[in-house]
C-alpha cells in the first residue's frame, strides 16, 4: 500500500487548536507523512509542540524551511546556516540566477516558483538538467489551482503542463504538495492526483509524486542528519570507546 505524503502543509504554528485540526484532517484524508514549514528563526520548543501533535495522531512529521534569498550569496549563506537544522530545504526562486544556483546545489531538496507571476517561473530545460544532476525536485503546489479562477488558472495550468513535461523528460522528480493554509483547501491524495491530470501529468507519475518521491527525500535527509552519517553509503555502524 502506498504511503502518501504532503510535504507542504502550511499549519498555523501559533494557533495550536487549528494546527491540530489540520493535522488530524491530513490523517483522515490518507496521508502518512506531513512536512510543516517553519520560519528559519523558530524556537525548538515550537517545533517540539507540533511534533508531539503529529506523533499523537500517528503521523510521521518532517520539518521544513522555505528560503527566499535575494541573491546567490544569500542563498549559500542560508543553506550553510539552516541545512542541518531542517529535514527539508526549499528554495523559492525569485530570479533566474537564484534558480540556477539552487538547482545545482545538492543541499537544496525542492525548487519552488511563483504561482502568480509567470515571469518568475524559470523551470526550463537547462534548469531541469542542473536539477536532475543535483537530485533536486520540482515542487508543484496544488492549492493555487483551487483558489485561482479564469485566466490566472488557465495561465498557471499552461505553464505547469510545460514544466511537468520537461521534468518528466529530463527525469527530475516531481513533488505534488497541497500548500493548504486551512482544512478547506486540503484534499485526499487521489483527488490531488486527478487534479494533476489537468496539466497532463500521467496518473502513475502523480501517485509517485505524492508517495515515493517525497518519502525518498525525507528518508535520504534523515539519514544525512543522523550523527552516524559520513557520506552517501558510508555510516558508522558501531563505536568503540577507548580510555
Amino acid at each position: 500500500m502506498k504511503q502518501f505524503a504532503d510535504l507542504y502543509l502550511r499549519v498555523p504554528i501559533n494557533n495550536l487548536p487549528q494546527a491540530e485540526k489540520m493535522i488530524s484532517k491530513a490523517l483522515e484524508l490518507g496521508y502518512r507523512i506531513v512536512a510543516i514549514p517553519f520560519p528559519s528563526d523558530t524556537h525548538r520548543e515550537k517545533i517540539k509542540e507540533i511534533k508531539k501533535i503529529c506523533k499523537d495522531s500517528g503521523l510521521d512529521f518532517a520539518t521544513r524551511v522555505n528560503l527566499s534569498p535575494r541573491n546567490a550569496n544569500e542563498l549559500l549563506h542560508n543553506l550553510r546556516k539552516f541545512r542541518r537544522k531542517f529535514e527539508i530545504v526549499t528554495v523559492r526562486c525569485l530570479t533566474k540566477d537564484i534558480a540556477r544556483h539552487a538547482a545545482k546545489d545538492r543541499r537544496v531538496d525542492l525548487l519552488q516558483f511563483s504561482v502568480t507571476n509567470m515571469r518568475q517561473r524559470f523551470f526550463d530545460e537547462q534548469e531541469a538538467q542542473l536539477a536532475s544532476q543535483a537530485l533536486s525536485s520540482l515542487e508543484i503546489e496544488l492549492s493555487p489551482l483551487l483558489q485561482l479562477t479564469r485566466f490566472s488558472r488557465v495561465r498557471l495550468l499552461s505553464i505547469l503542463r510545460k514544466e511537468a513535461a520537461t521534468a518528466e523528460r529530463v527525469k527530475v522528480p516531481i513533488i505534488l504538495s497541497s500548500g493548504a493554509t486551512d482544512t478547506q483547501l486540503m484534499r485526499g491524495p487521489y483527488d490531488f492526483a486527478s487534479l494533476s491530470t489537468l496539466f497532463d501529468l500521467p496518473l502513475a507519475s502523480a501517485y509517485r509524486a505524492l508517495s515515493e518521491n517525497p518519502a525518498l527525500i525525507v528518508e535520504r535527509n534523515r539519514e544525512k542528519l543522523n550523527s552516524d552519517f559520513i557520506a552517501p553509503g558510508i555510516r558508522i555502524t558501531g563505536r568503540k570507546i577507548c580510555d
Binding site: L145, L146, Q184, M186, G188, Y190, S194, L195, T197
Partner: protein, 106 residues
C-alpha cells in the same frame, strides 16, 4: 453491435459550515465541469446525481468512465457553493452501485 457505455459511480462527501441542498450541489458540480471542460467535455461526461444521503451529507454521482479523472478533478477544484465555503471529497469510486455500497461498508 453497439457497445454499451461504461459508467462509474462516485460517492462524495460535502464539507460545509451551512447545510446545502441536493439541487445546489448538483448545479455546482455541473458548473464546475462546464467551466473546466466546456460544453463538449460536459456532454461526454454524462454526469447525473443518483442518490443523496442527508444524514451523512453524502452524494452518489454517475459519470462516463472515460471522463472519470476529469470529473474528479472538477469536483475537487470546487471551493465555493453559493458564496459558502465548501470542500468536496471523493470517498469511493466503483463500476456498480452495489460495489460502491460494499466499499462504503469496508
Amino acid at each position: 453491435m453497439i457497445k454499451r457505455e461504461k459508467r462509474r459511480y462516485l460517492a462524495l462527501k460535502v464539507e460545509t459550515e451551512q447545510p446545502v441542498s441536493e439541487q445546489e450541489v448538483l448545479e455546482t458540480v455541473q458548473e464546475s465541469v462546464l467551466r473546466l471542460f466546456g460544453e463538449y467535455g460536459a456532454s461526454k461526461a454524462n454526469i447525473k446525481l443518483i442518490k443523496y444521503i442527508p444524514e451523512i451529507n453524502q452524494f452518489v454521482f454517475r459519470c462516463s468512465h472515460i471522463m472519470l479523472d476529469n470529473i474528479r478533478a472538477a469536483i475537487t477544484s470546487t471551493i465555493m457553493l453559493n458564496r459558502k465555503n465548501v470542500s468536496f471529497h471523493v470517498l469511493n469510486v466503483s463500476g456498480t452501485l452495489k460495489g460502491l455500497s460494499k466499499k462504503k461498508k469496508t
